[in-house]
């Protein structure tokens, strides 16, 4: 499990927690997010822009 961060607004996607509001249950891997995933906070950065910041 890892944490990925939006380089623009620092939104963090933690695979362990998922993102309930967005409809991604806990343990949803980042790679399994849809290809057209866009940062839910800023709407500017695409999935491939996200940076892996830590393993958890």
């Amino acid at each position: 499990m890892a944490i990925y961060e939006c380089p623009g607004c620092h939104y963090r996607y933690d695979e362990e927690l998922g993102d309930e509001h967005e409809g991604y249950p806990p343990s949803t891997l980042f790679e399994n997010l849809p290809d057209d995933f866009i940062c839910p906070d800023c709407g500017v950065r695409y999935k491939e822009d996200f940076e892996r910041v830590s393993d958890s």
Binding site: C9, Y11, C42, V44
Partner: protein
């Protein structure tokens, strides 16, 4: 006045005082302005007084922008975290939320209990709609933020103009598709504001609704579930507006209709001028380039910015949407509007004048430099625009191939 300081390892002591700190109070008091029209009516007995707020917005503000001029100051980047943490700024946005409810109810009371001519009723409804349109502006500022409180307040204030889909549509739709032909909320060169309104208002609603549907379906819920953020906001609208009809009678129906449509049209007006003709290029991957500051028209005019929570510093906003209003920056070489938003709205309402003022500005932008393939053009007017500005060149058949 608060001064922020920071000891920087290389740059030494950095200090910054926000000269606009107390001017931001204008954004809070702006919704009170329609009440001044009503007070002037009580003082003079003349229905003409009810037109004062409209006159102020569309005539006085453009002159103030022209006379007071612009402010190109930026806070130092190192200070921005402190500036964003200062709760004063966000409290101002919170206060506007109840004010929008109070103002609408007060104006509704006035309309419901006074015998007004049709013209006076229309002027009052337009005034009310103009100020509820500012509620969309407040929701815009708060809806981009990450705290649950601000997102809730955004949903609540959107109930006043009955525009509950705005935050979802704007953050997920407009921000991702901005300055592309696909975006119903980005205007095209040669497209009049009236044609744009008919594309933008329904287009934005359906895009927002579909996005909420997709989100709820991922959660395993129906789009009609009460957790639908759009339905929550519209439920508050229903309570508010049906309550006004119940309290003040049938006259509320035309009043609220004009009020709602005018509030939406304020947003339409802002969207129309914010990205006119601008186009993000397509990368080889088939995706559009990330939104850059030159994909929005910017304006630094002091007066209209301080009543709109810095909305006009739109270039930085689109490149960095979660940045708070007090820290939005100006950049060099941005597409610059020749007046503030209210002045530009007035120009936009007269399409031939708008084209005269703006089309040459679009083509003169450094990243466009007369190249029509880099402009977002209304397909219905493409041939005409190529004939006029394209140096006799032919309109390409697949105009968007990068």
């Amino acid at each position: 006045m608060t001064t922020y300081t920071l000891q920087h390892p290389e740059k030494g002591l950095i200090s910054y005082t926000d000269k606009k700190r107390y001017l931001w109070l204008s954004s809070v008091f702006m919704p009170i302005f329609p009440m001044l029209g009503i007070l002037a009516y009580f003082a003079t007995g003349s229905e003409w007084a009810l037109g004062l707020p409209i006159f102020f917005s569309y005539v006085v503000i453009p002159f103030l922008d022209w006379g007071i001029g612009s402010d190109e100051d930026n806070p130092p980047e190192e200070i921005v975290p402190q500036l964003e943490e200062d709760r004063y700024y966000r409290v101002l946005t919170y206060i506007t939320v109840p004010m929008h409810f109070i103002v609408l109810i007060a104006i509704a009371w006035f309309v419901g209990t006074h015998d007004l001519s049709v013209a006076a009723l229309l002027a009052t409804a337009i005034t009310a709609g103009m100020y509820s349109g500012l509620g969309i502006n407040t929701a815009h500022e708060m809806g981009h933020k990450k705290t649950a409180l601000e997102r809730w307040l955004a949903k609540i204030v959107l109930a006043v103009p009955a525009y509950g889909h705005f935050c979802i549509e704007h953050n997920r739709g407009h921000h991702t598709e901005v300055a592309t032909p696909e975006d119903p909320a980005s205007s095209r060169m040669g497209e009049s504001i009236y044609k744009f309104a008919l594309r933008e208002i329904p287009g934005a609603f359906f895009r927002g609704w579909n996005q909420e549907k997709v989100r709820l379906e991922r959660q395993g819920r129906s789009v009609w579930h009460w957790k639908n953020d759009i339905l929550q906001s519209f439920a508050i609208s229903a309570v508010l507006q049906l309550g006004l009809i119940y309290a003040f009678g049938w006259i509320m129906i035309p009043f609220l209709l004009v009020h709602n449509v005018w509030a939406w049209f304020q947003l339409t007006s802002a969207n129309y001028i914010e990205h006119y003709g601008l186009l993000r290029s397509k990368e080889e991957s088939g995706r559009y380039e990330r939104c850059q500051p030159h994909h929005s028209w910017n304006a630094n005019y002091i007066f209209s910015n301080i009543v709109l929570f810095h909305l006009e510093r739109h270039s930085d906003h689109h490149a960095n949407p979660t940045r708070r209003y007090q820290s939005l920056r100006n950049f060099d070489n941005l597409p610059e509007l020749p007046n503030g938003y209210y002045g530009m709205y007035m120009i936009a309402y007269i399409p031939w004048l708008w084209y005269r003022v703006m089309d040459k500005r679009v083509l003169a932008l450094p990243h466009i430099n007369g190249d029509l393939s880099k402009v977002n053009i209304d397909p219905d007017r493409r041939d005409e625009i190529y004939a006029r500005f394209g140096g006799g060149g032919q309109s390409p058949t697949t105009p968007l191939a990068a």
